[in-house]
Symmetry: C2
Subunit: 524 residues, 2 copies
């Protein structure tokens, strides 16, 4: 995917030796990069204590694996070098050398971001820097529920640790068993509990960051864990969602929520998208403060998950279709999840809610126990791996006004997928899901049996798809970020003042542009 | 207060003509400023459409009033000029001229920040720029509860407007009838509902800002209102809490919460601070997701509010003391507030909570109706005006580990206030309150009958007080910001890397240092 999209812009970026005409900064950008030498490798080895498991060369299969993410879309060639520091001080020393020598670096967590932000672009010969050995949970305040940990802690491990102390990490993702908290922060991953537990911008109380030149910045990370602090610019926020282009996050202090004592979930099926919206409104009204998440799945993804045979489905599309008329694309399924502190109260709220929607839904199944609750979430979370297994998937993570989800999907089907299917270039499946409470849709087009990107499919979808999203007031990247997949689109999203400011911030914090080149910011 | 503290550092700042030795930026800082001329006034008048009510000169009583805040601490002399633009475009044109001419500007909202951030420092001859005529609420998304408004909207007006549409602005302050939302954002004001509804960093979805040179920046303000957007650096966060030193906030898009259908509050009295902590833990446990705020008041502030005669107090210190032994400083009062969607459920939660704490408290009164609920909050909110009326008040807004509130207050009394009282320099009252759920304490020393700062009192309190807070891992400014009152302390709070970064961000966004000079950043 990347090779088709970005080769021209990458060339432009590499060729850029004149000072960029920033309004904010007039610094010369130092490019291109130097090539790695044996002397560099020796210096890195010394910093890492001559430990062979912390410095791996291109021929190592681990480096091969680290050079692509799990989508497989961004594979080009093995990176020259993979570094696995164990401390912030080592990262500082490694970066100071890379900065001085102008060697580009790609920071890497669990590689689950889906937009190619965590893998090399080869054109720049990046060194991969993995965070996985910075995996200590260093403190948990039992009164406030503030947890401090290093960036390489796997999200699920952090969740389990905090849950054992009755606290809930305010972030959950399908990839929790693989992704690392540092990567979650660097990509500003949000997930389904965004409305209930707030966004990372609000829950991150402290951050430790190593800048490109090796300086270590500390924002309320080592010495304090205050909920409120108003003693300076909130510069730490710049690193959230910056995809490692401004600095490398090495530690975080995070505000947790009390662990819910009562969890409940139901799947309901609706015949039309208008019914979906009605159920959403009534869920807010009757479930109130316990409403934790509301996940949308259309008939296509439901059928694919059902066909995978891996899940016991509580509802069947075929049965519904044999009994009821539904809107095109339907039936639509909603996974409604509640978190509360009093099971009796939660059950009563559920009862009044289900009574209120009984005429609006085709069918509904309430989880009977925590096991079924978990199995419902497994159905939802299997959406992504299910389509990935079927073939190359063109994935679009967008924000849209909630009322327009299905209308926009229909527009895409009529305008883009219909004509494409008639060309018979591929066997296409369009399957969609998302966090409807947040207006966040995951739109997916899978080319069955294919493993490579196809130019005709891509051309049919883009840039039409993105322009259509922007025209409707949406966002072309809701929670997965830009990486290599969407950074070229930023000039359509932001005006020149904003782009200038972003470039200036980059020039300020990483003047030699060594951090994650070819990602996030578009080439100019 | 300011004149004693800062005259030397101000002189240093004015005298600073050499380039600051930033690690990040090596730009020359252009100071001192130019003086205002008749030609400048003519240009401003033209930009403001020659409307005499939008441009006021020093002789006008309105300018006199605008040159100090309601504490009266920071008064020096009337500002030379007061501008009251009506549009973002006018602000842009005004700032472009000030930038070009090197004329310093102090942006001003409701002036309720308490740290002198919104008033002139006279040494710089600032022009005051009031935001009050940018007071339009421009949109409210009925499904998502996202409100868009201009910076000059008074917080209470915004609350009322949203409440009429069943949405709750996720911010409340005692000063809501006066403060403006733009000022709330610029000072990162948080208030009592921080834990329940999240912080501004999380709830601000969009921002419009005018930079020092007149450029208008837009972060998801005019064209979109997406809950999730990951298409760039989160630069808008820099302006929250920056006290107008990086740019002037002119508009905001804010995520609201559903209006609670059930509100309940109680005052409880505890004999010791350990009991307070126990009640806090049990409130979290039994009230769970409906716990909205928990406000601490010590015996001293309770007695002062009682003595003011303006409130019907639900509990009496004298009665409690006649019946029970209490810890020094006690009895301690807690205002516990809940917001929920189901009154029956909330009442049951209250019942189990009150049963669980009945042996931990001396007494408790549950509000019988919404009128009493409001009167409880009025008691809490009257704390600030009550001490202000009694005399000059040395106010300290700090974060502390919750368990240490009373221990630290006792330390201050023993080490600092006791010796001071023995000197009989003043009649002192130490009265304290705060948002205990957030670890945010408001510590106040009032010199009865005095209207001016006294050097001996100040010297007894500072810098000891701040060092003691930092030693305990607290923050010297929890929610009121730095302004003129605490900016000189930043070198004790942050390391040189962080200070450098803050100065570099200032130099990037306001290279001529025209925005709110003498505030926020310390002179170097």
């Amino acid at each position: 995917m990347a090779s088709i999209f970005f080769s021209s812009s990458r060339r432009k970026m590499l060729a850029c030796s004149r000072p960029l005409p920033f309004l904010f900064t007039r610094r010369r950008l130092h490019q291109p990069y130097n090539s790695l030498t044996e002397s560099d490798v020796q210096i890195f080895s010394e910093i890492l204590g001559h430990n062979p498991s912390l410095l791996l060369q291109a021929s190592d299969p681990i480096v091969h694996a680290a050079s692509t993410d799990w989508t497989g879309h961004y594979w080009q060639a093995p990176a020259r070098l993979l570094l696995r520091p164990q401390t912030t001080a080592q990262i500082s020393a490694l970066l100071a050398h890379c900065h001085q020598r102008r060697l580009p670096v790609v920071p890497q967590g669990g590689k689950t971001g889906l937009v190619g932000g965590s893998v090399p672009t080869v054109a720049h010969e990046e060194i991969i820097l993995q965070l996985q050995y910075l995996n200590q949970i260093t403190a948990l305040d039992p009164v406030l529920g503030i947890v401090t940990c290093q960036a390489g802690v796997v999200l699920e491990n952090l969740q389990d640790y905090c849950a054992n102390h009755s606290w809930l990490v305010p972030l959950d993702l399908g990839a929790k068993g693989t992704c690392q908290i540092g990567g979650n922060l660097a990509t500003n991953a949000e997930g389904p509990y965004f409305r209930k537990y707030g966004c990372l911008a609000g829950n991150v109380l402290g951050l430790e960051v190593v800048l490109a030149d090796g300086r270590i910045l500390d924002y309320n990370y080592r010495l304090s864990n205050n909920m409120k602090d108003n003693t300076g610019y909130k510069w730490h926020q710049l690193f959230l969602g910056s995809e490692g282009t401004l600095g490398i996050i090495t530690g975080v202090t995070l505000a947790c929520a009390p662990l819910p004592r009562s969890k409940q979930a139901a799947f309901v099926a609706c015949s039309s998208y208008d019914q979906v919206l009605l159920v959403l409104q009534k869920a807010k009204q009757y479930l109130g403060e316990i409403l934790a998440a509301m996940e949308f799945m259309d008939a296509a993804i439901w059928k694919l998950v059902e066909a995978s045979g891996r899940h016991q489905m509580p509802l069947s599309v075929e049965t519904i279709l044999s009994e009821s008329a539904v809107q095109e694309g339907g039936p639509f399924f909603l996974l409604i999840d509640t978190h509360g502190s009093n099971a009796n109260h939660d059950q009563e709220k559920w009862q009044t809610f289900l009574e209120a929607v009984q005429d609006d839904i085709l069918n509904g199944v309430l989880a009977q126990d925590i096991k079924q609750y978990q199995s419902f979430w497994q159905i939802r979370e299997s959406a992504n791996p299910t389509v990935a297994q079927l073939g190359y998937t063109y994935k679009y993570d967008v924000s849209l006004p909630i009322a327009q989800f299905q209308d926009w999907i229909q527009e895409m089907r009529l305008e883009r997928l219909g004509p494409l299917a008639r060309n018979e270039s591929s066997s296409l499946v369009n399957a969609n899901w998302g966090h409807i409470l947040d207006g966040n849709l995951h739109f997916n087009v899978t080319t069955i049996g294919k493993r490579e990107v196809q130019k005709d499919v891509l051309d049919a979808l883009e840039p039409y798809l993105f322009h259509s999203i922007l025209k409707r007031g949406g966002s072309i990247s809701a929670e997965h970020g830009l990486g290599q997949a969407k950074n070229h689109l930023l000039p359509s999203v932001h005006d020149e003042h904003t782009l200038d400011l972003m470039r200036s911030l980059k020039a300020l914090l990483d003047p030699r542009m060594i951090l994650n080149p070819g990602k996030f910011l578009p080439a100019k």
